[in-house]
């Protein structure tokens, strides 16, 4: 990461530095003079001052399984946890840069191995209990404990060794790593600090996994986020209320959040969410499909809809390149001969009409892509990556070079066949619940028909699709999409590394199967410990070029983030990173709220 001003402990020093450095620190400067309580160090957020009061309703794709960050694996749980918990250092979803959170300052040693974080004074959990360095120590002990199986554990193992956390005093914590970590302090984003006073006993008893169900009573659960649990109605809604001990304030010194209540309605179906938003039952909507977006923008009625720009979601097609020689059917082995041919994959990529995908699937609200890092990722996008236009001629030349030929059938259509005379036929799996990707596959099917390939699209329930791709490996090709959760490409490290579980075309390899996969592995490992952004970017750009050359993933398109809110919602500012509309939930307010901000 870029170097940050060191030792930013005192407000006065900060004030001077802030004139030179980023806006993030600028926010800090006003924290000191405007405190009503001199002990507390609130984080002051810039932006419009809102009104207090009111309840905001949003829909959630389903019931959250848990409120406990240690066992939360599903997106719904993570969305709810995001507004109930807080981390030490946070990534600002709008600027995509790190900023101060529970830690009011941090310092990275010159060798990049030691991080010293200073906590805010007088922090309190949502149940009023004080929070200090012991809670931080406890949280990381839990995350790193092997028996807990926390999803965060992998991230906290740097250079093969777990991070060592030490306490200096009640306000200061030191993190020691075995190797320098390229993405630096971004590591701390999303690492919720857990309430030790509530969780230590269950942790000692090994019962941590049972804590934090949404049906827990309000006093059994606490966090440092802007909202805390109020009521849970199974199958219907989760009601959160304002955390009165929250540690952020607006520029006038009012303690955030503005809203009294935040309600998550469980609405599993995207179309039903649109209906609820249209009828005014919910105040905001995010993750809109392009078609629903244009429906909403046509019948605009008391709400606005916004195109927040290109997202970090990348949609792609990949072929089955797994080593399945023993158990696979002869049929698949024959097909894999084509799939393993680089020129075959390049030809498929050359024939893919990405512009048509953007136009027909995303109604123009998307971007064609040729690499894993999408244009929505402004800092990491490789501007020099080759972006060849669609060319069936080039595709045909490539296929000819690879030994394929065409036979003309009796009714005049030509069929591609390999050097043994087998016609090229394969199927593409898509998730049946995702209309966008089914459409992409249908377009690809037609594109490839023009090369003489007979392709079938097989829509499948997503779980069985994943099972085929990751477990049984009985498939030919698949269209899928992944949304990076962070702008730093390390968030997709399991896609890049040949040992990764989401290295989809051939996951969890013991040794890289091909020289180019080995080279990508090497580049990614190298950037992990590279210290400067430029160095890391160069390595990532090279890895993208290799990917573009060998086309194990044929990248297609990236949709825009589309969201909507009622006119009455203030500070509505959707970001392209998760959680798209709730990232600034503490600053959201209702314009017809109870009182003007003079609490």
């Amino acid at each position: 990461m870029r170097n940050r001003p060191a030792a930013v402990a005192r407000c006065r020093i900060l004030f001077r530095l802030s004139l030179v450095f980023s806006a993030v620190i600028f926010q800090e400067t006003f924290a000191c003079p405007q405190q009503n309580n001199s002990k507390e160090e609130l984080l002051v957020l810039p932006g419009e001052v809102g009104r207090f009061g009111g309840r905001m309703v949003v829909s959630l794709r389903g019931e959250p399984k848990t409120l406990n960050p240690i066992i939360a694996a599903d997106a719904r749980s993570r969305e709810v946890i995001g507004v109930m918990q807080a981390d030490l250092i946070h990534i600002n979803r709008a600027t995509q840069l790190t900023e101060h959170s529970l830690a009011k300052s941090w310092k990275i040693s010159p060798d990049g191995l030691t991080y010293t974080l200073v906590l805010r004074k007088d922090l309190k959990f949502s149940d009023g209990q004080p929070m200090d360095a012991d809670d931080v120590l406890f949280s990381f002990r839990v995350y790193l404990d092997e028996n807990t199986h926390a999803p965060q554990r992998d991230l906290l193992i740097v250079g093969g060794k777990p991070i060592v956390v030490r306490k200096i005093d009640a306000q200061t914590v030191v993190f020691q790593m075995a190797k320098p970590y390229g993405a630096g302090e971004r590591l701390f984003d999303g690492m919720a600090i857990l309430p030790r006073h509530l969780l230590e006993k269950p942790f000692e008893e090994g019962k941590l996994g049972q804590i934090g169900s949404p049906s827990a009573t309000a006093n059994q659960w606490a966090g440092l986020g802007p909202f805390r649990l109020k009521e849970y109605v199974a199958g219907q809604r989760l009601v959160l209320e304002r955390n009165p001990y929250y540690w952020k304030s607006d520029s006038k010194g009012n303690r955030l959040p503005y809203l009294d209540e935040l309600v998550f309605l469980f609405v599993p179906n995207a179309d039903a969410q649109v209906l609820k938003f249209q009828s005014g039952e919910t105040d905001m909507i995010s993750q809109l499909g392009a078609e629903n977006f244009s429906v909403l923008s046509r019948q605009r009625n008391g709400y606005t809809v916004t195109d927040a720009g290109p997202s970090l979601e990348y949609n792609f097609m990949f072929f089955n390149l797994n080593d399945v020689s023993e158990k696979a059917s002869a049929d698949l082995q024959r097909k894999q001969k084509w799939f393993r041919e680089v020129k075959f994959r390049q030809a498929v990529s050359a024939a893919a009409d990405r512009e048509a995908i953007v136009r027909l699937v995303y109604q123009g609200r998307g971007t064609p892509i040729w690499g894993l890092v999408t244009p929505g990722n402004k800092r990491w996008n490789d501007a020099n990556l080759d972006r060849p236009a669609r060319s069936l001629d080039r595709a045909r030349t490539l296929l000819k070079e690879a030994g394929f030929s065409w036979a003309t059938g009796q009714n005049g259509d030509s069929t591609l066949q390999d050097s043994d005379g087998n016609p090229v036929e394969f199927s593409i799996l898509t998730s049946s619940s995702n209309a966008d990707r089914s459409k992409m596959a249908a377009l690809l099917q037609d594109d490839l028909k023009q090369l003489g390939m007979h392709v079938q699209v097989v829509p499948m329930e997503f779980r069985s699709l994943l099972d085929r791709v990751a477990q049984t490996k009985e498939y030919d090709a698949c269209v899928m999409g992944i949304a990076s959760y962070d702008a730093d490409p390390n968030s997709d490290i399991n896609v890049w590394l040949s040992s990764g579980g989401t290295h989809l075309w051939n996951p969890s390899q013991v040794h890289p199967a091909t020289p180019w996969e080995a080279e990508i592995d090497h580049l990614i490992e190298e950037q992990l410990s590279a210290r400067s952004f430029d160095q890391r970017k160069k390595l990532y750009d090279r890895a993208q070029e290799i990917l573009a050359e060998y086309q194990p993933m044929i990248f297609l398109a990236s949709p825009d983030i589309l969201a909507g809110a009622k006119h009455s919602v203030g500070n509505f500012d959707p970001a392209v990173l998760e959680p798209y509309v709730l990232w600034n939930v503490e600053q959201l307010y209702l314009k017809n709220g109870r009182e003007n901000a003079a609490r």
Partner: protein, 351 residues
């Protein structure tokens, strides 16, 4: 004979409707899977004979559509580009009755395309898809009903004629089939079948599936008729003269069942068309891009399509005359002075 005339009229209606679908390749202006990616969700074109300047034209024409600036799916008629309708034009290759290759189409326009029922998300011509889709849906219904009736007929005849333990076993099995929840059974059956089947295989799978689940009711009806027919005096007499079982069934008993079978057919065919549509609607039928009525309607599962593009509903209207024809035929057939009570089944009971 009013009844006979009624039957003839309904048969004529059905004959016309079916020949339209059979000649889909000739009547449809385009290949049903051909995409026109520049023109998704084009609304139906109006056929004009009076142009924007109030001039009358002998040859009907359509106006080309232009995308409204900044919009993705909002089109306006471009009055500067009239496209006169041409008849008997050469166009996409097709096979009539899947036998004769041909390129002649009834109508088309020069320098452009004509979409009488608009286009879908990929710019495919809905009119062509509707006609070609009818081939799949109607053929599946006809074939499925034929199979069902054949199975039901055989089983009913065996159970009714031979009686005894054969009757008991077969009728208990039939009762079991009647008690099964149809739709879920169809789902389960389809789920067991291989995923990657080509459209032709998928088609015959559907036919087999819907035929296999529906035989119980015709079997019971046939059994009832056979039971009473085998007690007729002339049957007893024939048996007394030494006629074999097979001869008795063929010559004297099974002809008695013909009226029931015909009525059953007229009821089952639309039911099975609907069954095919249900399966395709839910994505278990003939795979895209091959059109069938169920596939066409499955676009409506999306809310945005439901509220934005009214012409996507039109395939739902297409089946109305067919169903009317078959049900009209069924009721005309039933008017025959008929000693056998025929159970009436409501159309939707399968779906």
């Amino acid at each position: 004979m009013i009844r006979r005339r009624k039957v003839k009229i309904w048969l004529l209606v059905l004959g016309v409707l079916h020949s339209i679908v059979i000649c889909a390749g000739f009547l449809a202006p385009y290949d049903p899977v051909e995409q026109d990616r520049k023109n998704p969700y084009l609304p139906p074109m109006r056929v004009h004979i009076v142009d924007a300047r109030k001039h009358f034209h002998v040859r009907p024409f359509v106006y080309a559509f232009q995308l409204r600036p900044g919009a993705f799916d909002q089109y306006v008629e471009d009055a500067t580009q009239p496209r006169p309708l041409k008849f008997f034009v050469t166009g996409d290759r097709y096979r009539l009755l899947s036998l004769f290759a041909a390129r002649f189409h009834l109508f088309g326009v020069e320098n452009g395309r004509i979409h009488l029922l608009g286009t879908d998300a990929f710019g495919r011509d809905q009119f062509s898809r509707l006609l070609f889709g009818g081939q799949i849906s109607l053929f599946a219904g006809l074939l499925g009903a034929a199979f069902t009736l054949f199975i039901g007929w055989c089983i009913g005849a065996v159970a009714g004629y031979f009686g005894g333990w054969r009757d008991d076993v077969l009728m208990r099995v039939a009762e079991l089939f009647l008690a099964l929840p149809w739709l879920y059974l169809l789902f389960a059956l389809r789920a067991f079948l291989p995923l990657t089947v080509n459209p032709l295989q998928a088609f015959f799978l559907i036919v087999a599936v819907i035929a296999a689940v529906g035989w119980a009711r015709p079997a019971r009806l046939v059994r009832g008729i056979v039971l009473s027919a085998k007690e007729h005096d002339f049957v007893r007499a024939a048996r007394g003269f030494g006629a074999s079982n097979f001869y008795l069934l063929r010559r004297h008993i099974l002809p008695e069942t013909s009226s029931v079978l015909l009525t059953q057919a007229a009821i089952l065919i639309p039911q099975y068309i609907l069954a095919e549509m249900t399966l395709s609607f839910l994505g278990l039928g003939v795979p895209e891009p091959v059109p069938s009525w169920g596939n066409l309607l499955s676009n409506l599962q999306q809310y945005s399509v439901l509220v934005s593009y009214w012409w996507m509903y039109l395939p739902a209207l297409a089946m109305v005359p067919f169903f009317l024809g078959y049900l009209g035929l069924a009721s005309a057939l039933q008017e025959r002075p008929n000693p056998y009570k025929i159970e009436r089944r409501s159309l939707g009971s399968l779906a």
